[in-house]
Amino acid sequence: MKQHEIKIRKQSLDTERILARKNFTQLMHRYQRTRFRHRMRYATGFSGAVVLLLTIIYFLFQSPAALTSGSPEKVATHTPSPKQTPSMESLRPKDSIQGKQPPVIDSTVELHTEAKKIEKRTPGKSVQTEKDTLAKIRAEVMPAQTQNLDEFLASFIDKPQFFTLDATKDTVLTGSQGTVVEIPANSFMFENGQPDPNKVVFQIQEFYKPSDMVLAGLTTTSNGSPLESGGMVNITASVEEKPVYLKKDKQLTLKFPFKGKKKPMKLFTGEKPASGTVNWLLAQADLTQESPIFQVVEQQPTFEGGMKAFNEYIKNNLSYPVEARRDGIQGKVYIQFVVEPDGSLSNIQILKGIHEACDREAVRLIENSPNWIPGKQGGVPVRVRMAIPVSFILDGEPTSPNENVLTQPRQSTSKKPSTGNTKDADYYYILKSNKLGWVNCDYFLVLTGQKTSLQVPLPEDKKASVVVIFKNYKSVLPANRRSGATLIFDGIPVNEKLVVLGLKLVNEVPMIAFHETSLTQSPAEQLALEFKPTTKKEFNTQLKKLLDTK
């Protein structure tokens, strides 16, 4: 009998492909996570059993009534079995600082949040050192940018637009590129909490085009995962040069114009460091928290196109987690969420999970789901709780790439919507923000298919800013890591149209290097940048031509 199979490989493994998989930070996160679980398991061993018993008793008395009508909140808080508590915690959106757990493309994203959570609960030495390593690694990747270059690039950006407004009234502002900001009356306060300044100077800076983002040194990633941006703005407010802040109970409504197909945009916020890139984080979306959640309404919420279309969406977007596939895990994940009056989905929770990775995937699918048609009670859209199963079946698992995402036409915003005329923009992405500063209208770019990595050696002086831009999406990505004098961009889909752009400044002379390319399958490709000197004027036109046209 055959005990094993022998395969002969004609080509030996090449080093680059192996090295692309090396990632100590990620390993460290995983380690922290297992330690945390380990501790949790000890802690919940006995108490877990007690809670389980109590829950069963509770359910014996409550379940028939609670499930059909009555108090939906109770159902929500008690359904998860206590055994799953640790993993449930990590999936519950409200727990984390970033609000909703970002969908996982690269597992680092999830690890990041996990690490943060550990930090919150058990502040200790090990966590501190782990933070240090992270910071160190970040610093190692980032210093490629020079201060001078930043200043040079900034000189091309449109100056911020200033508005002076009477803060005691509701105000609607429109930026030159079409961003609409709605500010409710009496929204501002000084740092010390002193309320109600009257004359407020409001400042807006808009970044819609990839070239603008590059010039501003902005990139579109959240914890290493690529985002596609529907526009970024930097909004600040001041009174007599002193910054003012948004009151806790006030929200700004931001409208980002777009054309073409609607994408599930969400609000991301971030801090822009003096040098380096912004790490965008999903903003807390608990904006309609106060209104009640319905269990059953006259008109149930539906997915556009019905449940059949929703199942289709799930089928096309589900990527079977490797760990689960390896362990032969299949079954149904029961997931619960709330359909908000605007059709977005929130409060995503796992009711019954099968495997941590599958649960995470299910949450990701729901988070990235296009908006639903909200449920209605008496003709008014209300919040409705829904629960659905997501099936993970090993055989016949659909692997077809998600047509919806991949073939979406790039939104064109090359035509500037004229000031104040809202009709120029076909639609707006309407998002709410409860703070000022850098705000990004984004969604997690899910690109299926094979991924590879790109290596870009830095020029000899190592001082250059290098980014990769996806031609078909508004995505500007920084290098994931750096090994020696080589920048490495991970997770680049095969055959995706890219622009690899290098900018540097030598003795005040701008140098530009760009390659329009797409990667073929593995092994990791190496791409040497050729910097050519240019003039200031030419530099700008070159950049716009390169990035803002299809």
Partner: protein, 178 residues
């Protein structure tokens, strides 16, 4: 830098483990890859290996065997566990040019059909003998290390390897005889 010092440093401060990771990542990945022939799985098992190493680093003693052998042993366990769980047929993915050297050493002429013969022959050998050959010739491990990785006595490891080589030689002789 001395490996011994690196290990001591990592025991005190786990972030220092990154240097050991850098040092051995490639080797372990290759080793696992040769047993799985799947980049994703190899990736997963490799990080699992290092994760185990980090968790049990305190238990590692420098005197007994090299750190590499210790990692190989962990990797070996991970591979076994993987095949136990998935119930897939264990797989050895061998580089052609390494097999060719093996054939040349055995006095056989390298030809495409000979290579196929060899594959069939290797499939009939017991798994542990293949592992032995893999470690000895493809990973260039000493018998001491092989013995440690596979949990057997050094003399047994030697014996087992020679037995496998004898079988190979006999097989090659048959091939050339024909």
């Amino acid at each position: 830098m001395d490996e011994h010092l690196l290990i001591e440093a990592a025991k005190k401060d786990l972030t220092q483990f990154s240097r050991l990771y850098d040092l051995y990542f490639e080797r372990i990945f290759r080793f696992v890859y040769r047993r799985t022939d799947d980049e994703m799985v190899a990736d997963d098992l490799t990080s699992q290996t290092f994760l185990q190493a980090m968790t049990h680093l305190a238990a590692y003693e420098y005197r007994r065997v090299s750190f590499a052998a210790w990692l190989y042993k962990i990797a070996m366990n991970e591979i076994h566990q993987y095949y136990r769980k998935t119930k897939a047929t264990p797989l050895f993915s061998l580089d052609q040019h390494l097999l060719e050297t093996l054939m040349e050493e055995g006095g056989s002429i390298v030809r495409e059909e000979n290579l196929q013969e060899l594959t069939k022959f290797l499939e009939q050998l017991p798994s542990h003998e293949i592992t032995m050959l893999q470690l000895r010739f493809f990973e260039s491990k000493s018998f001491k290390e092989i013995a440690y990785i596979l949990d057997m006595k050094e003399s047994a490891a030697k014996m087992c390897t020679y037995r496998a080589i004898q079988k190979l030689k006999k097989h090659f002789a048959q091939l050339t005889g024909n």
